[in-house]
Symmetry: C2
Subunit: 391 residues, 2 copies
Amino acid sequence: MNTINLDYISANPLLPEVQEAMIEAIKKNHGNPSSPHQLGEQATEVLEQAREKAARLINCASPQELVFTSSGTESINHAIKGIALAKAGKGKHIITSNIEHNAVLKSLRRLMKMDYRVTSVSVNEYGLVNPDDIAKAVTDETILVTIMHGNNEIGTIQPIKEIARITREKDILFHSDAVASVGVMPIDVQYLGVDLLSFSSNQFNGPSGVGGLYIRRGVSPLPLIDGGAQEDGRRAGTENLIGIIGMGVAADIAFREMECRVEHARKLKDRLIRGLKESIEDIIINGHPEFSLPNLVSVSIRYIEGESIVLMLDEKNIAVSTRSACASGALRASHVLLSIGREYADAQGTLVISFGRDTKESDIDRFLDALREAVEFLRNMSPLYKKAKAE
Amino acid sequence: MNTINLDYISANPLLPEVQEAMIEAIKKNHGNPSSPHQLGEQATEVLEQAREKAARLINCASPQELVFTSSGTESINHAIKGIALAKAGKGKHIITSNIEHNAVLKSLRRLMKMDYRVTSVSVNEYGLVNPDDIAKAVTDETILVTIMHGNNEIGTIQPIKEIARITREKDILFHSDAVASVGVMPIDVQYLGVDLLSFSSNQFNGPSGVGGLYIRRGVSPLPLIDGGAQEDGRRAGTENLIGIIGMGVAADIAFREMECRVEHARKLKDRLIRGLKESIEDIIINGHPEFSLPNLVSVSIRYIEGESIVLMLDEKNIAVSTRSACASGALRASHVLLSIGREYADAQGTLVISFGRDTKESDIDRFLDALREAVEFLRNMSPLYKKAKAE
């Protein structure tokens, strides 16, 4: 039986067109874009074509506002550390939220060891940041606000435009980690008003290990990787041209298909949430009911362990996740779920179901059937469940 | 007419076996190694197989000593900045040489803005560092020595083992940028005695945009990219698995073919140097006559501009370079050539000819013919040449 991938947030399959373009690039054996001869010129042309496509997906004012990186994580590190170091003369205070991705959290922790101060605003029960809290947290020392766009664990989408209004007014730079959003829903950096925005190719069926960082014209984070003059001196190192070509094609298709893609995901999401509510009792759907990524559902299933469900479903060739793949291996409960007020036990009983372009309604139905069985089995063994039901 | 690539140092063509493996990986659509289900396990297996192969190429004591990065440049940044930040408590002094790659130079410049002190030792006319100079430069504050293995512009190979003896004795960490050497000649990190060593997949016919950093067990540079737990917490970000698979295959073949590869390159190098000396007067072969990379020849052709020769050869579909592709776009004369005592004008008249596994003797001969013509043409127009000959 084919594996049903409902863990798109960890890994999107490559689109056939992306596969084709990457295979063609491998066969063509492009040169180094920095070389001064024909082989270099041809490679540069291909690189810049990909940049145009990726830049258009997020509506950069010019392709030169887009820097290619090796991952969303690198983009986030580059934006946060790069602005922190560039602006240290002005101040060392940064504002973030309690539900950011590890790449943001750990970049900030690194800076805190270098005497930067970080204020982390809390979120409400739906995971929403209140823009007023950001405004209140601003001090004369504040140099950067970094708030994610769509949350990768619960899907909640932050009021980025409202936050940008505040940062613009106060002349503070604003970075948004949009790794979980770009390619999944329309993202327009000019409409949002952000100064920096991080994203990753794999979230829209491009290859892993390729990311993008939008840097608004006039904004200059220090490079994270110093060396040659690649990427206009903003990111050194010979380019992963094969991956970048794949990202370009994936971005182009995501741009053109966006409307259908969102509609398709919304339909699946509705079906999934309806199915969950109908077939399993004592569950909590996490995240905001309206301001939320269309391709992801987080559900806390009370009285059991998410890890056990993942294993049982895995045996039936259904891939789901308990949380961000980047946080796997960490046994603690998700800081995102705790931040929206989930109890520790409920946080441990949480599944993240994420899907994409190729997911079918029948996949959702097969998952729901398998989940129902797994939950029944696990709850029958759960002393917690028995105790709760006896009360 | 087919293009003759004599600029391997900028871009090696992919081996057919590497192309095949990457194409297979693209078709297979691997998952995310960090995922907790089957798709993740399969991806992890593939990732670790590649790590074993790449680690064997440089004779790591264990594959876990190898971290995958997005380029040689990232590896160098990670090693230098990571050790500098990790060891700041002990001191802020770093020793390097005058002929390092831009990735080293610019990483060090970044640190100098953070109050680190750098001593740069000079090299002799062949580009050799004297280990005694390193020993003399050491102070109580010294935390790191970073000296490249093979120079990417003139080919000179440094006495790494002798330098390592000094750093070990004085309990200072030693990093070597071996980007131009790994895969080109045997490199054994245990024999050399280095603590960190940077290299890049493309120098041995693997894909661009994939690098490796050897970190000796027990050595802990701070991560350059913070976030998820990938690479044992040493380098966050979802892996470029397709590229890494290509690197693994390329490393495996380089390891098995090493002896033939070196012999083939040496033969071409001898033929090229002999041809240059026989057919063009007033030239200088740069670099050490013995301790030198087998796949690269640097020649200063007096009275003319290297850039003009590159353009003329390019019209005849022969790709050569005037210097490192990473430094192209910079109009200044090469700091490496000035450091070994070349006059400014001679430095500007320098070509770097680099070749590899698929280069044929006839390619060298065709290049020599075309070069002879180009030099004659350019010198006939050169007032400098006429003046020199009139004297």
